[in-house]
């Protein structure tokens, strides 16, 4: 068994004597006897470090990761490249091991990094105020809904069907708690079509690009919301924001999103971070930590957690959120990554994805039996309709070492013959060609089988 405890037997005796008790058991005498476990926990015996390593390695080996296949899976998390400097910096114990910076004098590194992160998110979203991170993308959407409820007290959300299914479901879970109804706005030609809005609508909720990869025309939707006195919440993929009109310029009040693609690993879904940015007028409604600039008693620049009267540890039942621990280290990875990309690099990366995605779209659309679901503009992800059973096609592609994408039918019964294909900077032209070939063969085989059966 491994132990991280220093205390020797002799020290334990000495410490017990100093406390004035005879045994360790005496320290637990206040626990009623009938509540004590009275046996060892039914867990396997502890192991040495190398044995634990071997077990964890064996478990890892039973997963097919993006290291083992050419993957076109996206749908909210992307196999993007994490540069070496991110790993190197975030593994420094000075960033890895501290708590939330409650003592600013000895936490200037973390606090300044938060401030720099907030600036980067503000630049990406075109909104003036960012917090220091929330858990991840879908729960950020739900947290944004709570901001809208606090802001205008209305009772309904209109949620685009183009919003990530996990975000829609998370919003529904939390909205039930805080007493709001959610109603879906359909997609027409791949884009959101709003129903008439009235004064019961607290917010409309969109995604940019939406779950089908389509770039939404956000500005007119946000204008309609404003007209009805409702807020506009938009969940954004941060990389396309390099090219797209920023939410702040489109009339969006709250921009949130999944930050994984900014310097964080896939990690089977987490930890990553959610970003959360708002207009100036929502400054005091925003959930979570915010770093602010100030000065010390000698007039030197410094940073502190600010506007804490919004938060649970001060405001308790009147807080704007219950969030405490969020995702500081992942957000730090995010700002290091964005600094590494830099102003031009971010645009170059997004343009590379745009070009390769256009190429992939063209290649796949040329495959017999495959057609584009819609031909609206996309940036890094798009949907195709396969004239064949999707799960079987995916299984055949996997045999060729290709994971062709996400079967949309899992979340959209009306799209049960559709596949969502994501392109990251790691997918080369050669990978895309292999995808097109594998898909062509798989679709052809499946269509033959269908024909034979018919």
């Amino acid at each position: 068994m491994t132990s991280y405890v220093s205390a020797t037997e002799a020290e334990r005796r000495e410490m017990l004597a100093a406390i004035g008790v005879g045994s360790i058991d005496d320290l637990f005498a206040d626990i009623p006897a009938q509540l004590r476990l009275g046996r060892a926990l039914a867990l396997d015996a502890g192991l040495s470090e190398q044995e634990v390593y071997d077990e964890l390695r064996a478990l890892a080996a039973r997963n097919v990761s993006a290291e083992d296949e050419v993957t076109f899976l996206g749908a909210g998390m992307y196999d993007s490249y994490v540069p070496a400097l991110v790993d190197s910096i975030i593994s420094r114990s000075e960033f890895l091991t501290p708590y939330t910076p409650y003592q600013p004098e000895i936490s200037q590194g973390g606090l300044q990094a938060m401030f720099e992160y907030q600036t980067a998110i503000s630049e990406l979203t075109g909104l003036p105020v960012s917090n220091a991170s929330v858990y991840e993308g879908p729960s950020a959407v739900a947290a944004a809904g709570y901001v809208a409820k606090l802001e205008n007290g209305r009772r309904r959300f209109i949620v685009s069907r183009g919003v990530h299914p996990h975000a829609r479901e998370t919003l529904a879970t939390l909205a039930k708690g805080y007493g709001m109804e959610t109603e879906e706005a359909p997609l027409r030609d791949g884009r959101t079509e709003l129903p008439p809005l009235d004064d019961s609508v607290s917010a409309i909720i969109l995604q940019q690009p939406n779950f089908l990869g389509v770039v939404e025309e956000v500005a007119p939707l946000a204008a309609a919301a404003r007209e009805a006195g409702a807020l506009t919440i938009c969940s954004c993929d941060p990389i396309p924001l390099a090219l797209l009109k920023p939410p702040g310029e489109c009339g969006v009040d709250v921009a949130v999103g999944e930050g994984q693609t900014l310097g964080n690993r896939l990690d089977f879904g987490g930890p990553s971070f959610g970003f959360f940015a708002v207009t100036q007028s929502l400054l005091r409604r925003i959930p979570g930590r915010i770093a602010g600039e100030t000065t010390d008693v000698e007039g030197r620049r410094g940073f502190v957690l600010t506007l804490q009267t919004r938060e649970q540890h001060i405001r308790r039942e009147r807080a704007t959120s219950n969030i405490c621990t969020s995702q500081a280290l992942n957000a730090l990875a995010g700002v290091i990554y964005l600094s590494w990309l830099g102003r031009r690099g971010l645009v170059e990366l997004a343009e590379l994805m745009l070009q390769r995605t256009a190429y992939a779209r063209e290649r796949l659309a040329a495959v017999e039996g495959v057609e584009l679901l819609v031909d609206q503009p996309v940036v890094r992800e798009f949907a195709v309709r396969l004239g064949a059973p999707v799960e079987s096609v995916i299984a055949r592609c996997r045999e060729e070492g290709i994971n062709p994408g996400y079967p949309l039918g899992r979340d959209y019964p009306e799209l049960d013959d559709c596949l969502l294909v994501a392109i990251t900077e790691r997918r080369t032209r050669a990978d895309i060609d292999r995808l097109a070939d594998a898909l062509a063969a798989a679709v052809a085989t499946e269509r033959e089988r269908l024909a034979v059966r018919a």
Binding site: P104, Y146, L346
Partner: protein, 498 residues
Amino acid sequence: MMRASDDRLTIYERSRPGRRAFVAPLLDVPERALDELLPPELRRSEAPRLPEVAEPEIVRHYNRLSRRNFDLDTGFYPLGSCTMKYNPKLHERVAGLPGHARLHPLQDPSRAQGALELMWKLQQSLGEIAGLPHVSLQPSAGSHGELAGVLLTRAYHEDHGDRRTKVLTPDNAHGTNPATVTMAGYEVVKVGTDERGNVDLDDLRAKATEDVACLMLTNPSTVGLFEQGIEEIERIVHGVGATLYYDGANLNAIMGICRPGDMGFDIVHFNLHKSFTQPHGGGGPGAGPIAVAERIEPYLPRPQVIVREGTNGSGPRYDLDYDRPKSIGRLRGFQGNYGVFVRSYAYIRSLGAAGLREVSEVAVLNANYLLARLQREGVAEYLPAAYDRICKHEFVLSGTPMKRALGIKTLDLAKRLLDFGVHPPTVYFPLIVDEALLIEPTETETKETLDRFADIVAEILREAAEDPELARNAPYTTPVRRLDEAQAARHPVVRQAM
């Protein structure tokens, strides 16, 4: 415009047009005109103003920043309620294996068997530790677990045709408890604490009415004491049909010794970033799994990891179960903070049952030893223990006599500790103790460290007796001195001006 010395520059202030780190992979497909792919009306007119800095300077910048942080690998961090124990290095290595780190969350379960097996086994282990059989790993942090728990309570009552409106929380509860209650659409009702630090049972009896949905409790409590009336509390709460919720922030005191499930709790959350060694990361990531009793199980979040026994000699198959009609639904995307699960699973495998019990034994031993050291002459008269009892993994001192006799506040003591190279305890929490210091040493600290801390506190009190200004103006040796928080809140500057 404020002038910052070089080591205080932000990454944006280090930016020079034309510098760069990233080089894009080759454009290997035929280039199409931008306007053709993205119409100009959808595009932004100006690129986000990210910094332009070469890689060596980015690394130096963040290294410099890192040196302006105090951290757990450098010194003592007795921050009460936060369980700042050593974070084993092995965990970073195993979490970084590509089979874990590059696994896509939507990978087909048949191709993520290792990950699902790990999650299943972690669920089983946590269930055993809590004494409650059903576990969801989905919540992302403690407060997220709390929200899950209160939503589960709501679903449970509503499924039984029961509409309730209130949730009880002790007056010494973590702030997340009442904040969660409001977010879940309930009214908070506070229950008092008696002079021994226990829940005031008479007050609880008076407030436990038929419209109460739940009592949220931490045990050991936020004052570091075992809730001695827990059996009576359980009878009162269940007597009115409410659920009993366990805030697992203080689980480090009782692992393998007693279990929330055996005390009658229905729902428990764990903080994997506290008792189970996920590094705190300067404010996350964490994870807040929940364990529940049989009657709450139908409402657990979707999806759940399940196992099916193999047929014809094949091994068990792990899967994600979405078909849960009574589920409260999702609380977030995908399956939770898997990278955190890897670390916590490695920890449980390393320690096993005996090791986890030793953790709690030594955590409590260290806390009581430090309490004893701090209750000697020279300290006790200024910083008496708030409750004269054997504590669990942490304890509360009150700085009121110190303030009166020496003219320094708890905040001043905390700031002066910074000059001695230790992280201060949690201060001004719990709210029910004036000038509170909440001290949690954890099991991974040595006796010498505890002795040194006690000596430092005594030294600070001695110097304050001679010159209270020393503490009032501390710290002196830190990268910055006391910061103007009022100015920061009055005129919020929350991003770099450009």
